[in-house]
């Protein structure tokens, strides 16, 4: 399943597109992990510079970044775990807590807000039976409110893992949730 990735997009290319199941264990011992690390290191003048892409990779594989992952990244990049911790906590979009298999982010900034984003958010929470940030009982969903996702022309925008859903209305939400649950395209 390993795809060759051009170094120029190593930090941006999502892994979730191919990984339906979350991975657990040492990441940089996997084929994909080794390849990602190598590609990132070839792109930057220092190992330290590869930190953000590698954290992003970890998150795309595991859904969140736990302390053990930070240690692993630190070792791979010759950094201290403490430094990796400081970077991972500085950026709020790295999840430091576990999330469901489908990580649903509902934009509620101006354009989306004008297009009933709050209703969409509450519909998602109701359909998944969670409160904001919680993992649903079946482990499938975590729903959070997000700041602008940069697709204001297609409000309301919802991001599920790495995938954008555009023009989402409250009525579409049950179908999306059902499809995700069934492992189908939303």
């Amino acid at each position: 399943m390993s795809r060759r990735i051009h170094p120029a997009v190593v930090g941006a290319q999502p892994f979730q597109l191919t990984a339906r199941e979350r991975f657990d264990g040492p990441i940089f011992e996997t084929e994909e992990g080794k390849h990602r690390l190598e590609a990132a290191l070839s792109r930057y003048p220092t190992k330290q510079a590869a930190l953000l892409p590698m954290l992003g990779f970890v998150q795309s594989v595991k859904g969140w970044i736990e302390p053990a992952d930070m240690v692993e990244v630190a070792e791979a990049l010759d950094l201290t775990p403490a430094y990796v911790h400081s970077i991972a906590t500085f950026y709020t979009m790295y999840n430091k807590h576990p999330v469901g298999r489908h990580f649903v982010q509902v934009c509620t900034n101006i354009s989306c807000h004008l297009n009933r984003a709050e209703e969409v958010l509450h519909r998602f929470l109701a359909e998944t039976g969670t409160r904001e940030g919680e993992i649903s009982d079946d482990g499938e969903f975590t729903v959070i409110e997000a700041e602008c996702l940069g697709a204001c022309g297609f409000a309301t925008v919802v991001q599920v893992n790495d995938r954008y859903l555009e023009d989402v209305t409250p009525d579409r939400v049950p179908g999306i949730v059902e499809n995700l649950r069934g492992g189908r395209d939303p």
Binding site: P67, T80, A82, H85
Partner: protein, 544 residues
Amino acid sequence: MAENGAKATVTLTIDGVEVTVPSGTRVIEAAEHVGVVVPRYCYHPGIPTRPAQCRMCLVEVEGRPKLEPSCTLQAADDMVVNTASDTARTARQSVIEFLLVNHPLDCPICDAAGQCMLQDYAYVTNQLESRVDEPKRIMGRDRISDDILYFADRCVICTRCVRFMRDVAEDDSLIVAQRGDKAYIDTFPGRELDNPFQGNIVDVCPVGALVHEDFVFKARSWDMDATASVCPGCPTGCNVTIDTKENQIVRVKPRHNAAVNSWWMCDYGRKHLVMTNRGVRAEVPLIRDGGGDGDDGGELRPVDWATALDWVAEKVAALGAPGGSAVVSPDASNENLFYLRTLLDRLGVADAAFRVPQGETAELPTVPTLKLRADRAANAAGAGFFGGRRADGPPDGPAGGALVVLDDELEGAGEDFGGSADFFLYLGTRLPGPARNADAVLPIATFAEMDGTFTNFENRVQRFHQALRPPGLARPGWMVLSRVLARLGDGEAVNDVRGAFERMAAQAPAFAGLTWDGIGLKGAPAAGSAAEAAGVAGPAEAGA
């Protein structure tokens, strides 16, 4: 003009005063030349990185539209700097106001109160009422290492501690976690700092955020007395300030000396010094003059100083020069060692063994002179100057003649140590078991209880001052020994360390040309090297 201009100095005006400084000097440092201390948090002269992030040192420069951070601004010719203009003061006041938004204002229970830069600057801004209605963010307290606590609410995120660890100690294990108003100082989850120099992060903290656990709630800053001293932990001789309260050492902080320890000291030294509070001390002169039960011998009995000194002088005079041996402590001051050497020469004792306990070493990577050295003694170099011989293993008593011990704990010595000596004189801060075999025990002060000098590893003579009152009748060794010698017609009894130092400088070649006042608080190199001086056993020409 910077690179090829070859201009060595620049002249600028700061707060109306013209000052000439080496080119490359930052304005915040140039300002100190004219007596202006620009408020600062993130700037610390001992930490190389200058993030200019606290925005406290903003100053107005004529002709520039915006305020400039004086910690990174290079002084330039014809620059006109105003550190206290209305604009600069207003900017500073805004910074303070923002810092106080979430500050708990727990000064009444904060250990930094009275020595806190946030407190000082907040008073200067004179804004007595908060304009904030919202509740304060509350973060609580964390443990950074086995003996350092972090009070996150008090923190101003100047990152001095983080940058000390990263840029000075080169140990990137202390970091800023989160960001904005949620930012706090942290280690990796589940780990603690483990660096032999980590205690310095407490000293660089401008507020009460980082505190040594053994100092928490122990003393208010205005109740303490500060004394300039030298750390006796190892031959480096870091310059320190000893803070005392009620005749106890409560805190030790490094004192700046560019030639020795820069701004720092190691944790071993810190703890070692505080530990000197502990233990049972020798507090009264004891002599075995058979007082009461007839003949010589019998029990050691406590006497006053005059009786003890008279008796010891009498014994020494009666002995002549029988030879013998001596054990000295490498923690004794130069003055103590000098007077002891004078006495030993009179007794014909050439050999003076000193034993130096060994320990692990630790280096601060960016400060080559600062190192916790393996020798765990303050003044082995000084002991060498006065005919000392480095020895291993426990001391064994001589077959006969005189035996003089200066403050050695006599660890490993036999039960009957010194039993076969004709005369056994013990001068000590404590009274270990084997010392009870002595014919006379004279209680002396520790280095913290008197004035004196140590010679450090590179033969730098450094002054320390009296921080504590000695217990009971204990007195400085040089004071005691000068009195024994005075009774023998050799010199005068000295009460002031200047007198002791003066005589030492006159008679000991290593100290030739040095004066107590000339040494100052930063120390001065001794004459000649240790190797040279070792050959010069003692002042044989001592006026006897």
